[in-house]
Symmetry: C2
Subunit: 410 residues, 2 copies
């Protein structure tokens, strides 16, 4: 029998306990032995819980018990998760986490400690919830150089964009609905709508794909607050959908560009058809071509089942198969992992005539719509930096830029 500890008894942590119990038989068969939860660490009071005897309120008892071989971290955030995970790895225990902020911020260091100690640090559930993404990407890496990744990795914003498209809901109404359904935080929904959650996930995927640590704070990130129902309708007229895309790409100079931004995705691209709370990640390999992994991005049991799969993996295989699930430490940069290549852009000016638009953005713009005092148009083949200059000039002339959306490739 293998004893494990669960740190954090929130949605995912309690889901892990549930999955371990509900699927105990098949898990024992696959792991080769039963997996038993010996401790649950949570600072809240669970004295009335049926499993009250398992609860402890800090990690000391767990680290002091040599029977515990795997520590599951589902606290979230950096404090105390980082310290707890580091201590568990340093004590020679496998760690499985669903904590994207932790992996995005300290992944390289924790992987390096795990390697020194000959234990696993696994985090399939940190991206895509229950949808296997890290494992198949790691598998693809065996015989492929990954050139790019593009994904819808935040279910909440994708749900909101779907509602805005299908039911003409504006951003505020879609947000209130997402909050009432428990998809978005009530007090501060910023992690979802401003792209911070997606920023962490693309940092993890890029680190794995490109072999060195990419820091979330260096990823240029924009959420969906600017997107209007009109943007979505104009996109539809051009056979495209608006999606919050997290992407990473190798650049010709040997570096990498990353971003999180709402984009116009042509209907011919698989990502355009991803609706509601679903996630999808498109991986481009040099031998493989395009592969997409698609599934529900969150949810208690899906995420918990991904955590449990990692626990079984650690119990059964130890460190051997994971030594290529690794990336090098690197230093954060000044500025951002910028994209200097030209793209086509959609631009909507919130108060402008055609004359003003052409004066500010050039005579070659392709006008899409003039209504409600707004002008929407396409600009071909310009860089993000040049677009930023043009937008700054517009703002200087007291013209408000409603939204800008980069076109995604087919």
């Amino acid at each position: 029998m293998i004893s494990i500890a669960i740190l954090g008894f929130g949605t995912v942590g309690s889901g892990v306990l549930e999955v371990l119990r509900r699927s105990a038989f098949s898990i024992e068969r696959r792991a080769g032995q039963p997996i038993d939860v010996k401790y649950i660490c949570d600072i809240r009071d669970f004295s009335a819980h049926p499993d009250a005897p398992l609860f402890v309120n800090n990690i000391d008892a767990i680290l002091g018990d040599p029977e515990v071989r795997v520590v599951v971290e589902t606290i979230g955030g950096l404090k105390p998760a980082y310290f707890y995970v580091k201590s568990a790895l340093e004590s020679g225990r496998h760690v499985v986490t669903s904590n994207k902020e932790l992996v995005a911020t300290h992944g390289a260091e924790l992987l390096s400690i795990a390697r020194q100690k000959g234990v696993c640090f696994l985090f399939e559930a940190s991206v895509g919830g229950g949808t296997p993404i890290i494992t198949p990407m790691h598998q693809c890496l065996a015989a492929n150089v990954i050139s790019g990744i593009a994904g819808i990795v935040n279910g909440t914003t994708n749900f909101m964009l779907t509602k805005m498209a299908r039911e003409n809901m504006d951003f505020e109404a879609a947000l209130r609905l997402a909050q009432s359904l428990g998809y978005a935080e009530t007090i501060d929904p910023s992690a979802d709508v401003d792209g911070i959650d997606a920023q962490r996930k693309i940092s993890i995927l890029a680190s794995l794909a490109f072999g060195r640590h990419f820091f979330p704070q260096n990823v240029p990130t924009r959420g969906i607050r600017d997107i209007s129902v009109k943007d979505i309708a104009l996109a539809a007229r051009q056979n495209a959908a608006v999606r919050l895309i997290a992407w990473a790409r190798r650049t010709p100079d040997g570096g990498a560009a990353l971003a999180v931004e709402p984009m116009l995705v042509p209907r011919t691209n698989q990502l355009a058809g991803v609706e509601d709370v679903f996630n999808a990640v498109l991986v481009q390999g040099d031998m493989l071509g395009d592969v997409v992994f698609y599934g529900k991005g969150a949810g208690k049991l899906p995420t918990a089942s991904a955590v449990v799969a990692d626990v079984i993996d650690a119990v059964k295989n130890g460190v051997k198969i994971h030594d290529s699930l690794f990336w090098q430490e690197s230093a954060p940069i000044e500025g951002v992992y910028a994209d200097n290549t030209p793209h086509d852009y959609y631009v909507r000016l919130a108060n402008a005539t055609e004359l003003v638009a052409r004066d500010l953005f050039g005579q070659s713009l392709e006008l899409l719509d003039l209504s409600d005092g707004e002008a929407a148009f396409t600009l071909r083949g310009i860089t993000a930096a040049r677009l930023a200059q043009l937008c700054a000039r517009a703002r200087k002339a007291s013209v408000r830029v409603g939204s800008t959306l980069k076109w995604m490739a087919q």
Copy 2:
């Protein structure tokens, strides 16, 4: 250094050599040592090939060389592939194959020999070409009971259905185009258009998901020969696409139902959006919900890179991580793995009036179209067996059944 042998130097086999050479550096890094092709077995004459010294025309030299640790089988078919693979496993060598007919027919026996000998028998490339499907499904299995699988697993027929839908090509013209592009066999395209290729693949996926061997010959199978441009147009009017679906589902009695059949897939289902030569497999897990794996189904380098990933896996991890990639032997059944639950069906009668249609198929049918002497309609909630009776009755009355299509769930 690890020495391997490639059996069969066709498209996939030569692709394996190409991937191993082009990605030698990263493969060595991931496998922990270089992988060297020491033999290529092919009965054809390659004496003018730059690698001529590697060629042998039977497996004896390979089995006699203790340096060869992994045998890659890319011959296809059962003869001599089955004998070669069995001999290689019995001699204590790992085997990696892309041969779906071999795995679908003899998978359980070969997995059992591999287990006895403590070696790997891996076959990621047998389903989905380069798209990782077997590995992530195996991963999902760790913490999920899989209740159903539904997939588009034959790129050729999906390409043809896409052309028929987009360009109003009839079946014959779409087939000729697929043949001219090398997607379908010129002499006998039956493996693709009659669903035989898909039948093998769903047998493999069901065997893995449900833990015992399912035989291709027991899978009720229908290809796309009956599908007309009108069927596809009428489907579109009902917001659905016609797709050749290979599916498997647990039945309430503890058994399983499997089939390959063209179906009406509602546009809200992710499989409806899968076009051209792409493949997609939807897996339903009890904890996980729906997950889809999507990618190009074939192609030399994608398929070869999946083979190479398996080779690296075998070299690096040996048998340990694969002992749950296994299913029990079972006996073929009389008849088929039948589906006894009621479904909605689309039916097109090639020569019938509304009166005749209602007389033969019941007054409750929902008429969709009457044109060109044909009647198309929907039947709600009937079993496949009952539909077969009705169709037999129609044929007896000299009414030709143009096509029948089951509706897929959302």
